[in-house]
């Protein structure tokens, strides 16, 4: 009994860490650009594929695979931002909320189908990152769960340091607070937007790589987990990294336990109801700081 609960707890925490990273990227983009990035799931999917092929073809070292995946998707994100989103921002100006989200929807449609054409529809997975089994107090757990958790925490610490301690991070915060004022202070707003978008989707790529030992991936994995990313943002509040971490962990634990005890279909229904109720009662999210 206790063993069961403990292993579910670990699974929930690992899943929650992944959701937290996924949602943090969305939250970052939303917080800085006011853009609901519907292509976030596609970037998770692409990141997962890149990590998968790196592990299978190049190296067995997961850290390298995650790094490669992050860098490639970061570059792709910057390219997409410069080619598409930047132009939309210039043409629509202040009212870019709806056009921006429509563009990301188009990107999502294209990327998902390209992945299907390129990689086929079959399920792929990596059995494990590190073939190690730990035993704590007689309970055997795979090391990967712990690795995912530690890695997630490291990424979040790095993210906080980046946003609050570096010059670039300060520029990002300034743009998030007031774009025009930041522009007047000599910050290249377009560049900041591109970097934020790249970073946000890069976080999705990290989440995608970490998902490999837990889920099998296929070309629609991004769409299926996209609701979780948005739920993280709703629970954690827009633009808050700590909120995203807490929201993700809550979400992962909730999913692990409810799926085990009441089955995945019902669990999802209750879960969506919960999110709608949260939206009704506290539209800024449980840990939200910014007013709507």
């Amino acid at each position: 009994m206790f063993e069961q609960i403990f292993s579910l707890f670990l699974y929930g925490i690992a899943l929650g860490g992944i959701y937290a990273l996924f949602g943090a990227g969305l939250s970052l983009i939303y917080g800085v650009q006011d853009l609901a990035n519907f292509a976030q799931g596609s970037f998770l999917m692409l990141g997962a594929y890149i990590a998968y092929f790196t592990i299978n073809l190049l190296t067995h070292e997961p850290l390298t695979a995650i790094l490669i995946s992050f860098l490639l998707i970061f570059a792709l994100g910057i390219i997409i931002d410069i080619l598409l989103l930047d132009r939309i921002r210039k043409t629509s100006g202040e009212r870019w909320l709806v056009p921006g989200f429509i563009v990301t929807t188009g990107v999502m449609l294209i990327l998902d189908q390209l992945a299907f054409l390129g990689f086929g529809g079959q399920y792929r997975n990596v059995r494990e990152f590190y073939p190690m089994i730990l035993s704590i107090g007689g309970i055997r757990i795979t090391f990967d769960r712990i690795f995912i958790l530690i890695f997630t925490l490291c990424v979040f610490i790095a993210l906080e340091v980046f946003i609050y301690k570096t010059k670039l991070g300060r520029a990002i915060r300034a743009v998030a607070l007031n774009r025009d004022a930041a522009n007047l202070m000599g910050i290249n707003v377009s560049r900041i937007y591109a970097i934020t978008f790249g970073l946000g989707v890069g976080l999705a790529a990290i989440a995608g790589s970490l998902i490999l030992p837990i889920f099998s991936i296929y070309h629609k994995i991004g769409d299926e987990t996209l609701t979780s990313a948005f739920s993280v943002v709703i629970l954690g509040g827009c633009g808050s990294m700590v909120g995203a971490l807490i929201g993700g962990l809550i979400l992962g634990l909730l999913e692990a336990f409810t799926t085990y005890y009441i089955g995945s279909g019902l669990a999802k229904i209750f879960f969506f109801l919960l999110i709608i109720i949260v939206l009704m009662i506290r539209p800024t999210g449980i840990f939200g700081r910014r007013p709507a």
Partner: protein
């Protein structure tokens, strides 16, 4: 409502497409008639999806679920209780309107584009999951089959019924947008606080628009169910909503003709290139990006764009 659109609806050249649509069954090409019925269904969906989107700025991501609920309701009523098909279809319409009222109450409380999008998306997912899970009633993922048809096997009466529903829906949409209520809705979408300060009960109007939009989705769903005879939970999929959204944007969301033109064009495009069906989402996505980057007003906006370009180059 711009004056151009008013003019369009009063112009005589509209007789030509109407006559063509009326006389098409004489050609006896059931393939084309089938395709056109699909176009009718989707253009009504696109127009009514566009209704809250254009007036209030509410992007209803749960839209496909109402299409599916209408289909499931009328199919189940017709199969299990042997209700006449015509009454079942009206029932599907009324039932979705009823759900739409509750849904409208839910959405009307929210402000902000993203919150509405999220809530409607999750709501749609809940309905889809319920229909998939209620295997005893809906047969789950296997879908319903053996739904009674409206007419005997010939397609021509279906075509005329579809055409009739299409024209009635579009005229309803047009009349609504041009009525006082429609104008009030535009005002709410522009500035809700200002509308409230003028003594407008914004909650009521928002609910009305959402109910109207969802109930026509239900009507089309019921028609589809009794036209095809089989339905699956795929009808409620988010992908359907996305398709409708793409049709809308590509045609031009700021007009009445836009969603219709977008739907007819894109569906015929996909059908023509059916042999490379795997590419259709890419085509849709690319069309979306091209339209957003080059002509934000959609295909309908191209003439205006060209004339502006000419003036500028002179």
């Amino acid at each position: 409502m711009n004056s151009l659109e008013n003019k369009v609806f009063k112009q005589y050249w509209l007789v030509i497409p109407t006559l063509t649509l009326l006389l098409l069954p004489l050609s006896g090409q059931s393939y084309i008639l089938n395709l056109l019925i699909t176009c009718f269904i989707y253009s009504v969906l696109a127009s009514f999806f566009n209704l809250p989107f254009r007036t209030l700025g509410y992007c209803n991501f749960g839209y496909a679920s109402f299409y599916g609920v209408g289909a499931y309701f009328s199919a189940l009523v017709a199969i299990n209780y042997k209700v006449p098909v015509a009454i079942a279809i009206v029932g599907g319409f009324l039932f979705t309107a009823l759900i739409g009222v509750g849904y409208g109450m839910l959405l009307s409380r929210l402000r902000g584009f993203h919150y509405v999008a999220m809530t409607s998306w999750f709501f749609g997912e809940i309905i889809r999951l319920i229909i998939i899970r209620a295997v005893d009633i809906t047969r789950g993922m296997k879908g319903l089959y053996g739904i009674p048809f409206i007419f005997s096997s010939d397609i021509t009466p279906y075509y005329y019924l579809g055409l009739m529903l299409f024209i009635v829906s579009i005229v309803t949409c047009f009349k609504f947008l041009n009525s006082r209520i429609g104008i009030v809705c535009f005002a709410i979408g522009n500035d809700e606080a200002l509308a409230q300060s003028l003594g407008i009960n914004t909650f009521k109007y928002k609910m009305l628009v959402i109910t109207l939009s969802t109930s026509f989705a239900g009507l089309m769903g019921s028609f589809y169910a009794h036209f095809r005879g089989t339905i699956t939970p795929d009808m409620l999929d988010w992908a359907v909503t996305l398709n409708v959204l793409v049709f809308d944007i590509v045609g031009g969301m700021n007009s009445i003709l836009g969603p219709i033109i977008g739907t007819f064009l894109l569906i015929s495009l996909i059908e023509t290139f059916r042999f490379v069906l795997e590419f259709s989402p890419i085509v849709l996505g690319a069309a979306l990006l091209v339209v957003m980057l080059l002509f934000p007003d959609g295909i309908v906006g191209i003439p205006k764009y060209i004339s502006k370009f000419r003036k500028a180059s002179r």
